[in-house]
């Protein structure tokens, strides 16, 4: 995933065919169950006041984001010398879409991390076997981190 062009309204990103397929796969999968976000740690009254609203709003937001991203990836234009035959794809993201992309990638990271039992630090064990039962979660955590890193390094260069 590479930044192609950037303007005030957003940016165009170049995706390889593999990257586009990977993202479509990631965003098409059902969301992992997440521990409910808390509104307050100190006040039960505050927590009760808004918890239902928050949980519902976050879930709706997650579903809408993924749906939007799958649609955007599906609408990506072929790019390159062999147009239409897998040379690459041009993905246009508005600033709002980019933020949604980052949120959805982070949601994938956190969902995988929770499924892994919240390891601290969240680093792939060096002796992880190819057939480990939790390898899909490690894979999701790593892949989503890489895409997130590419987006951030282009948007917020050091």
């Amino acid at each position: 995933m590479k930044l192609h062009l950037q303007d005030e309204e957003g940016a165009s990103w170049l995706l390889s065919p593999g990257e586009r397929n990977l993202l479509l796969t990631l965003f098409s999968r059902p969301t992992e169950p997440r521990q409910p976000a808390r509104l307050s740690r100190d006040s039960e009254a505050l927590e009760a006041r808004c918890q239902a609203d928050l949980a519902g709003e976050l879930e709706q937001h997650r579903v809408a984001l993924r749906s939007r991203l799958v649609a955007l990836l599906g609408a990506a234009r072929p790019f390159g010398s062999a147009e239409g035959e897998g040379a690459g794809w041009l993905l246009r993201l508005t600033v709002e879409d980019r933020e949604g992309f980052l949120q959805a990638l982070n949601e994938l990271r956190l969902g995988a991390w929770e499924q892994l039992g919240r390891p601290h630090p969240p680093e792939v064990p060096p002796d992880l076997a190819d057939n480990a039962p939790d390898i899909l979660h490690w894979w999701t955590l790593e892949i989503a981190s890489r895409f997130q890193g590419r987006l951030l390094s282009a948007v917020d260069p050091e």
């Binding site: 928050l54 980052l102 981190s145 917020d156």
Partner: protein
């Protein structure tokens, strides 16, 4: 002491206040947290990084003090980015 904006301090004399706290966790990446602070609060990169480091090193950072409605709005915005953010009554 966590850093609090001067503007927010001034407002504390006028209305009941709630503080939005961002808590440390081992999974959100530091550049991501900095980016989220810039987006949600419109902060400069330096300010966003200061608060990110406060979260990382002290376990939490008070990012704003606001009325309930505004504080709730910010908590929801931060949680959409999957940051661990809560709303507490300012002491």
């Amino acid at each position: 002491m966590p850093e609090v904006d001067e503007e927010s301090e001034t407002r504390s004399t006028r209305e009941p206040e709630f503080q939005v706290i961002v808590w440390d966790d081992p999974v959100n990446l530091m550049p991501y947290v900095t980016h989220v602070f810039q987006q949600v609060f419109g902060w400069s990169r330096d300010k966003a990084q200061r608060h990110m480091l406060e979260v990382h090193e002290q376990g939490r950072s008070v990012v704003v003090r606001e009325s309930f409605e505004k504080a709730e709005f910010y908590v929801h915005a931060l949680q959409k980015y999957s940051l661990t953010a809560t709303l507490e009554l300012a002491s």
